[in-house]
Symmetry: C2
Subunit: 272 residues, 2 copies
């Protein structure tokens, strides 16, 4: 999917919502556990309930890997039913030496047909560049994450510039806003201003709104750009809105609440 | 496997060799491609040819993932035939927020029964700590990698201390030399001295000897400690020593050459 196509979807759905498909056998509704592939059935219900409200879906690969081979089957089946107008993100946080990163790229772009994959930047240029060689595919590089441990290394500062800013500066020269995005956590919303000063035109994938405490309005205030430029992710807040028989309706209600707020924001900015 | 058990294996085999099981369908001997599971058959031959010479095996997970579900089957079968006295390393370079890292730990420690997994430290403490909660399992954290891109972010320096040193200092307080190791590339062998000043007792996993140009003697000079403290990895130099019918014999010859050098080094230091 191209940047322009993604923007058109955002305008058409009045939404920049990404739904995190992080199904966990210990948390999904108990009645699904009797089915042959509970994680797939769970995802199918969530996708049916939200695909007119969300522009992107983001399975975190850890939740599939931990089930062994059958987890990858659930993942493949899930990718098959995500509507083609939705952007898909393999939240895999991969990264290795060049030759090896290329195999990770093949895994997610070719084997499983994702549009994009999240990348951990620690190993530098040759760990990221192989992901940029695939047409209409995206590398989403971790810049500033939303977790507690983000402070350990991402803020190490040389010549007034913290690591996460150097990651943005250097890596943005390896590709363009047509094939790279960045992960920037919503829990440090004031940092979005610093991020936008370096990468004004890139899309940002923003976790941490909702359960982790970030505010959508604040994220929009500092993060929006001329093509919206934001994908705001919600996982638990939507998929576990209810853990019983009504989980599908609850997920939709929760997604609708976010999408309605997004519609207002986009209309206010003339982006919808 | 405990640190002491690993040291006993090293003394017994007079070796600190780790063999990288990075089988690639485009590089393994062509006659194997006719078999049902070429990657497993390739690994089986390599393991048979080297298991008295190597103390550890390290499959890089990218090479299995990229084959889809059947790649994970090859991986599982490979783990099943690695002798129990060999240390196993999932070279996966994972890392995510705490709850998610726990699922990656379950994947490799429980689903596939690895002794250890490599971890990318960018996301900090809560991305690493979940891997330390498993008894006799190891987190092998990337400190200074051997690739070209290592220079991009690992040398960013605050108050005279580069990022890779801060990674060593901070993360070593999260666990101990009984459950953590570090990746330190052999291509910057003089840096091993700086690494040893911070983590004198930890094991180091050292890639980059051989094809990537590092010298075994130099690595030993700066890296050895009282329990050997080194696992030196060779992948391509062993597994692709020959690409024809004699690949097994060639792999053994190549491993034997490295092991013989290691035996001399260990005997010289009174460690064998």
């Amino acid at each position: 999917m191209t940047r322009e196509e993604l923007f058109q979807e955002i305008k058409s759905k009045k939404s920049f919502l990404c739904v995190g498909l992080d199904g966990d056998l210990t948390k999904i509704p108990a009645h699904l556990l009797e089915l042959e592939d509970p994680i797939f059935e769970f995802n199918k219900a969530i996708i049916e309930a939200t695909s007119d409200l969300a522009v992107a879906y983001k399975p975190n690969i850890a939740f599939y890997e931990c089930l062994g081979e059958k987890g990858w089957v659930s993942l493949r089946k899930t990718l098959d039913i995500i509507p083609k107008n939705c952007f898909t993100i393999a939240d895999a946080k991969r990264g290795d030496i060049g030759n090896t990163s290329r195999y990770y790229a093949k895994t997610f772009f070719e084997q499983y047909q994702f549009d994009s994959i999240t990348i951990a930047p620690y190993m530098g240029s040759d760990s990221v560049k192989p992901f940029l060689e695939f047409e209409e595919k995206w590398a989403i590089v971790l810049a500033l994450t939303s977790n507690e441990g983000a402070k350990d290394f991402q803020y190490i500062t040389e010549a007034g510039k913290p690591v996460f800013q150097t990651v943005l500066e250097k890596s943005s020269s390896w590709g363009s806003e047509e094939n790279m995005m960045y992960v920037v956590g919503a829990t440090k919303v004031e940092k979005l201003k610093e991020v936008r000063a370096i990468v004004p035109h890139h899309f940002l994938l923003v976790p941490g709104v909702g359960v982790q405490g970030g505010s959508l309005e604040e994220v929009a205030k500092f993060g929006l750009n001329e093509k919206c430029g934001l994908l705001v992710n919600s996982s638990r807040g939507i998929i576990y809105a209810d853990s019983g028989l009504e989980f599908k309706e609850a997920a939709r209600a929760s997604a609708l609440k976010l999408q309605s707020s997004m519609a207002k924001i986009l209309e206010g900015e003339g982006l919808a």
